[in-house]
């Protein structure tokens, strides 16, 4: 990656047309055609798939002298990978730069697509209808006749030709070295999208086939403890009766009705774990669309990771196509292949550590370095003795933990009280204590808030910026440096880990799932953890964050603690249904 400014003459604009192999979502890409334009020489490369698959390297330079320019470059990098080409040294993704320039703006006239970016800069572009027609043709797959081939190449070239005026318009404002870093991340994204997450495809197929029957059984089984469903429908008056009998105070709307949204159930099931099965049931009845999950014919979940899509610059993959977007209990579908292992690696107390490092709050740094910031906070607040442990004072630790998390999520006293199952006053006391113990952090946060609203802009240490609108929630704004720098840290870590040759299956919020042969997984985990530590040190000027890893070896499944019980329950129902189907078939 070059670490200097570049000019238009160094650029090669590029676009591929491709489709998933066999037209099945979740499969690896099949390249159909490519057009590349060397801006310096004016030379075009127009090539169809049979020609492209013959090449071992691209027909244009990809060394440090060249900048590959694309829009949503991870797609192009996936095609490089599908063709077996070496990755380019420099990538400039105009999508990432357009997102960065417009992040936070309330309205974009044409959205975030290439056409939208062209419209934003008032540049001419092709008609959206023609684009749709050509995408359909590409997705159909070959064989293509002469006319279709030249139409696809012409269409591909129209996108390539659109890139040059767009680049011209954007280049003066592009923060070049950091733009290339964002470009580099597209290579790691392509690798992750290519690797995908291993899924137990047989169980997935069974769940899809029998889901309607499972749902009915689930309601009967789970609802036996609550009595809140009638003819398969959740009844709020019955739920109110249950709450009265169980003596659970439940938040209400301003009109006095029970709040039944997902977040309320999430908070309340943390305060009252007996509600967790009901929450899981509601969750999967309301939004589970199993058939939408993208699973390739090789049993791997692959979908767009949608890098830079969230306001903090995080990946934002589809919640229905991405296995980690589904309810947590469904992570039981994730299972390494025989001989393989996967590892889930998560930074320890990442946001707390970032907040400590950025604000230089001595108490916060000490709490982070203690290894258990929640207990350390309770000690710093004088709520527990200095020799307390998480076993000797679990309740106090939990309260102070929830308080720390509440400040990270921008939660107020009311929500914290709901989560803790305590009066609001107790939540206020805890939040006041956070402000007192971590006064330097709060002074820093106040200052940051004032600076941000003065300039209407805030950015990360690697240049991901946010245009601050007047209606932005002040708590979100205060939290932006922690969240968005965490996203930067993950991007840097992905680049470093990918360079070490470790296969990353997926980024999961601020964690990573990696994969390696069973006998190599321990080494891969150590290497990945070292990369994650290095990423934190690069971002935080030497302040290192450690990470924890959970290794899952074949044939174990990847389970979240809170989801395993529900998974087991669904599997038991599935087995019963399958047995009864077999019996019926036998009759």
């Amino acid at each position: 990656m070059v670490n200097q400014d570049f000019s238009l003459r160094d650029c090669i604009t590029l676009d591929f047309e491709y489709r998933p192999l066999e037209g099945r979502e979740g499969n690896l890409p099949e390249v159909i055609c490519m057009v590349a334009h060397e801006v310096g020489t004016g030379k075009y490369h127009r090539m169809f798939q049979e020609e492209l698959y013959q090449l071992k390297v691209p027909p244009f330079p990809i060394d440090e002298t060249a900048i590959i320019v694309a829009y949503f470059a991870s797609a192009e990098m996936s095609c490089f990978k599908a063709l077996g080409w070496p990755m380019p040294q420099n990538v400039l993704d105009l999508y990432a730069e357009f997102r960065n320039k417009t992040n936070g703006l309330p309205y974009l006239p044409g959205g975030r697509s290439l056409l939208g970016a062209m419209k934003f800069f008032r540049l001419d572009s092709i008609a959206p209808e023609h684009k749709e027609e050509m995408r359909t043709l590409a997705l159909r797959g070959g064989p293509y006749n002469y006319h279709e081939r030249s139409s696809l190449l012409d269409y591909c070239q129209s996108d390539v030709d659109a890139l040059l005026p767009l680049l011209n318009a954007m280049l003066p404002e592009i923060d070049q070295p950091r733009a290339l870093l964002r470009g580099q991340y597209n290579i790691a994204v392509a690798a992750m999208e290519n690797t995908g997450t291993p899924i137990d495809i047989q169980t997935y197929a069974d769940l899809c086939q029998f889901w309607e029957k499972i749902k009915g059984e689930l309601i009967l089984e789970v609802d036996a403890a609550y009595g809140v469903y009638q003819d398969g429908v959740f009844k709020s008056d019955m739920f109110e009766n249950y709450l009265g009998l169980a003596n659970i105070p439940w938040p209400r709307t301003i009109t006095g009705k029970l709040k039944l949204d997902e977040d309320t159930f999430k908070d309340m099931s943390k305060a009252y774990p007996s509600l967790l099965p009901l929450r899981n049931l509601r969750d999967c009845l309301a939004k589970l669309r199993l058939n939408d999950l993208y699973v390739g014919s090789d049993g791997r979940n692959r979908c767009l990771l949608s890098q830079f899509s969230s306001i903090t610059g995080r990946n934002q993959p589809s919640t229905t196509k991405f296995v980690f977007g589904l309810s947590k209990w469904l992570r039981g579908l994730i299972q390494p292949r025989p001989g393989m292992a996967i590892a889930y690696i998560d930074w320890s107390q990442q946001e707390f550590g970032i907040a400590a490092a950025l604000s230089q709050d001595k108490n916060m740094i000490a709490a982070h370095l203690s290894g258990d910031p929640y207990l350390a906070f309770a000690k710093q607040a004088g709520a527990v003795p200095s020799n307390a442990t998480k076993h000797s004072h679990p309740n106090e630790r939990n309260q102070y933990k929830q308080c720390v998390l509440a400040t990270q999520y921008g939660m107020g006293a009311e929500s914290l009280a709901d989560r803790l199952g305590t009066p609001e006053l107790r939540a206020k006391q805890l939040l006041d204590m956070h402000k007192k113990v971590y006064k330097t952090f709060w002074d820093w946060s106040d200052n940051l808030y004032n600076t941000t609203v003065a300039f209407n802009q805030v950015a990360t240490l690697f240049g991901w910026q946010l245009n601050v609108q007047p209606d932005l929630n002040p708590r979100s704004l205060r939290n932006f440096p922690m969240q968005a720098n965490a996203a930067e840290m993950l991007r840097i870590a992905c680049i470093l880990i990918h360079e070490k040759g470790i296969n990353i299956c997926a980024p999961v919020h601020d964690a990573l799932l990696i994969e390696a042969p069973e006998d190599q997984i321990d080494g891969a985990v150590e290497l990945a953890k070292a990369c994650m530590e290095e990423a934190s040190a690069i971002l935080l000027n030497g302040f290192k964050l450690t990470s924890d890893a959970k290794i899952v070896r074949s044939p174990e499944r990847f389970h979240e603690d809170s989801g395993q019980h529900f998974w087991n329950r669904v599997m038991a129902i599935l087995e019963r249904i399958k047995s009864s189907e077999k019996l019926n078939a036998g009759c």
């Binding site: 690797t195 495809i201 047989q202 997935y204 360079e499």
Partner: protein, 207 residues
């Protein structure tokens, strides 16, 4: 999903090394140089210090009272209970105000949320009569010079009840203003320094 599809499972290569990059220059070696200067600490404005109000110690919060003589101010205080106002009176107004003016020492207090307050410490009754309200309040102030205390009226006992904090609430966050500045802010527009002040005119029946 059909059985046919299930039978067609293809394993992708999971252990392949990533494709070689065209150049070998290490990304990590230049990443650090891309870090921007930390501008989060650029001053975005500093909140002005809170102004003190005059009143009694907060019965809901633990408080401290500044022990220094720099934060003691002897004066006359007039409580206009009808209108809910408290005035500070100049010494030469004593003859005009009579018993309506009470000699007090204004003290600086702060609660554990850092909110400053000016309170009036009463003089002991010069007649020597025992007044439990006054003496218990003075006791509370004395104790609050060193400890966090919460002070609440106990009507049945006819005195203030003093509750020291069971936890160490740390150092009090004293305001940075001088006592003069605090008093000027707290009593702005409520200083009786002339016989023509509306309050004196009112008690003397002058229009």
């Amino acid at each position: 999903m059909s059985d046919q599809t299930l039978n067609q499972l293809q394993e992708t290569s999971l252990v392949d090394k990533p494709e070689p990059t065209a150049a070998t220059k290490s990304t990590s070696s230049i990443l650090s140089s891309l870090r921007l200067p930390d501008t989060y600490n650029v001053s975005g404005g500093v909140a002005l210090p809170l102004k003190a109000t005059y009143g009694k110690l907060n019965k809901h919060r633990f408080c401290r009272v500044h022990p220094s003589d720099d934060y003691k101010f002897r004066c006359l205080v007039v409580d206009d209970k009808d209108n809910g106002e408290t005035y500070l009176a100049a010494p030469n107004m004593a003859s005009q105000l009579g018993s309506l003016a009470t000699p007090k020492t204004i003290r600086l207090a702060v609660d554990n949320a850092g909110t400053p307050k000016l309170i009036g410490e009463p003089d002991l009754d010069p007649s020597g009569r025992r007044n439990l309200w006054q003496s218990s309040y003075k006791d509370a102030i004395k104790q609050a010079e060193n400890d966090w205390v919460r002070v609440q009226a106990n009507m049945a006992a006819g005195q203030y009840e003093i509750t020291p904090s069971m936890s160490d609430l740390g150092f009090p966050r004293w305001p940075k203003q001088s006592m003069d500045e605090l008093i000027n802010d707290a009593f702005a527009g409520r200083i009786i320094d002339s016989p023509d002040h509306p309050y004196i005119r009112q008690i003397q029946g002058r229009i």
